[in-house]
Amino acid sequence: MRVYDHPILGKLPDRKEITILVDGKKIKAYEDETIATAILASGIKTLRYTSEKHEPRGIFCAIGQCTDCVMEVNGQPNVRTCITPVEENMVIATQQGLGTWRKVSSKKK
């Protein structure tokens, strides 16, 4: 769900549409928005499951402090999705517990 025309903030500006991959599913996102925003807009509310009780967690603080929204992004677990901008073809996965370390060495930027 997105608010395209907010009564106070006004209309959403036009932005480039990109695609990200969440748990193998293609999801539309707008450039410069955060991963959590795009995922929430597509209707997914569970971002991870806790490590001990395996309970679902979603966005909580949305300012990068509480780490409730961490997901595996491009093989790297524990990425705070509420403050990480989306990139074209980003591979994102729901994190189970502490996640799985898939990344062996980083790409040089």
Binding site: Q76, N78, T100, W101, S105
Partner: protein, 406 residues
């Protein structure tokens, strides 16, 4: 409060060695009081990387290599016994340790070392090529590896938990642990220990064990230790990474660590290169954090985006010749020194046991002649390397011939 207190043995220092000594002495039926200036594991024991290494260091003195292996192996046996009998777990895991070389020249040095170790009957130590090293620890930066020395039985533990586990078991056996009780002085009369002086009185005892590591020389004359500032940091909780501990000489400094706690935090360490005027300064400076983080990023590029949640500085101690100082202090009856050199987690268990054996039986299961704490008395005053960082200390220790030169 401390007035009129009395015990068979007073142990000074509540680190891994002090609590181990208290536990082993209490297990032998002695009445023990442990005095710790701060809290359990406040010094190097609560601040280290927790590596359990057999025969570490790169010096080539045959006696030392052989002896260290014997002592540290006995220590590992004690940890295994602990695991069976202790109530608390201290996360001891034998995951192996890599002593990584970066340059080809350094690799040659390792080859020579391994040849010596093997000729001494150490059949466990292995030389790994670059490819084999990367197979063992795939998240290493391939540009930073030319090979490694590998021992499977090495490993790591949670040092904080080890201290607590030993302290708890010692208390169960009747030992009394006084935290925030600073020992100001060891009371000696007519070359015989009478007890220790604390703020509000004297604790009388027949024996005193000085297990204060970097601070031991201020309590006992004739002891020589070099305080070495080191820093360590711990990351957020991570999924299980290749668990091997490692040690490497990185840009002229030692980097080490990679102990992953049971909850997933990764513990990494390195030198604290800021060298404040006071070598006992336990504050951490931002430059130090950044410098060690840059090593870690170079060694493990995949950890680049991992958050570090805490970092700190600890003071470890090295002795002038790279050997522990464990034994009775010559000239003072009843004073026992228990100061392991460097990798204290490879010594803590056995040091406590030796202490208890010596005090109760007058003899030890492992000969301790080489570790005589009085061996520096009367020797020409040594020139310590400056600054007191681990690299120059290691060089100093390895370079035995030049030690007594002006």
């Amino acid at each position: 409060m401390a007035k009129n207190k009395q015990a068979d043995v007073v142990v000074i220092g509540g680190g891994a060695v002090g609590t181990s000594a208290a536990y082993h002495l209490a297990a032998r039926g002695m009445s023990v009081i442990l005095c710790e200036a701060r809290n359990i594991a406040s010094g190097a024991s609560g601040r280290c990387g927790g590596q359990v290494i057999h025969a570490f260091a790169r010096d080539v003195n045959i006696d030392k290599i052989d002896y260290r292996l014997k002592v540290t192996r006995a220590n590992t046996e004690i940890y295994k016994e602990y695991q069976k009998s202790f109530e608390l777990d201290f996360e001891f895991r034998q995951v192996g340790l890599l002593d990584i070389s970066i340059t080809e020249e350094e690799f040659g040095e390792l080859e020579r070392l391994i040849e010596i170790q093997r000729s001494l009957g150490d059949d466990e130590i292995k030389l790994l090529t670059k490819k084999e090293t990367l197979e063992v620890m795939p998240n290493l930066n391939p540009d930073m590896v030319s090979g490694s020395r590998w021992r499977e039985s090495d490993g790591n533990l949670n040092p904080y938990k080890l201290c607590w586990a030993q302290a708890v078991e010692a208390q169960k056996l009747g030992a009394e642990i006084l935290t925030h009780t600073k020992v100001e002085d060891i009371v000696i009369e007519k070359n015989r220990v009478k007890g220790v002086r604390v703020k509000d009185g004297i604790i009388e005892s027949e024996y005193v064990v000085n297990a204060t590591n970097a601070w031991s020389s201020s309590l006992t004359k004739g002891m020589e230790v070099i305080p070495v500032r080191e820093m360590a940091m711990v990351t957020e909780r991570l999924p299980e990474l290749p668990p091997q501990a490692f040690e490497m000489l990185c840009f002229g400094d030692y980097a080490y660590g990679a102990t992953q706690t049971a909850s997933g935090n990764y513990n990494l360490g390195g030198p604290a290169p800021n060298y404040p005027p006071d070598p006992y300064d336990e504050r951490i400076y931002p430059e130090e954090v950044l410098r060690v983080m840059s090593y870690i990023n170079t060694i493990f590029p995949s950890l680049e985006e991992v958050s570090v949640i805490r970092s700190w500085v600890g003071i470890m101690a090295l002795t002038p010749d790279g050997m522990a100082s464990i034994g009775p202090m010559p000239g003072v009856e009843g004073l026992f020194i228990a100061v392991p050199d460097g990798a204290g987690m490879s010594y803590a268990g056995i040091t406590g046991k030796i202490t208890a054996e010596y005090i109760c039986d007058g003899k030890t299961s492992i000969p301790i002649d080489l570790l005589n704490p009085g061996r520096f008395i009367g020797k020409p005053k040594m020139k310590w390397p400056k600054p007191y960082d681990i690299t120059s200390c290691h060089k100093f220790i390895c370079d035995e011939e030049s030690r007594y030169k002006k």
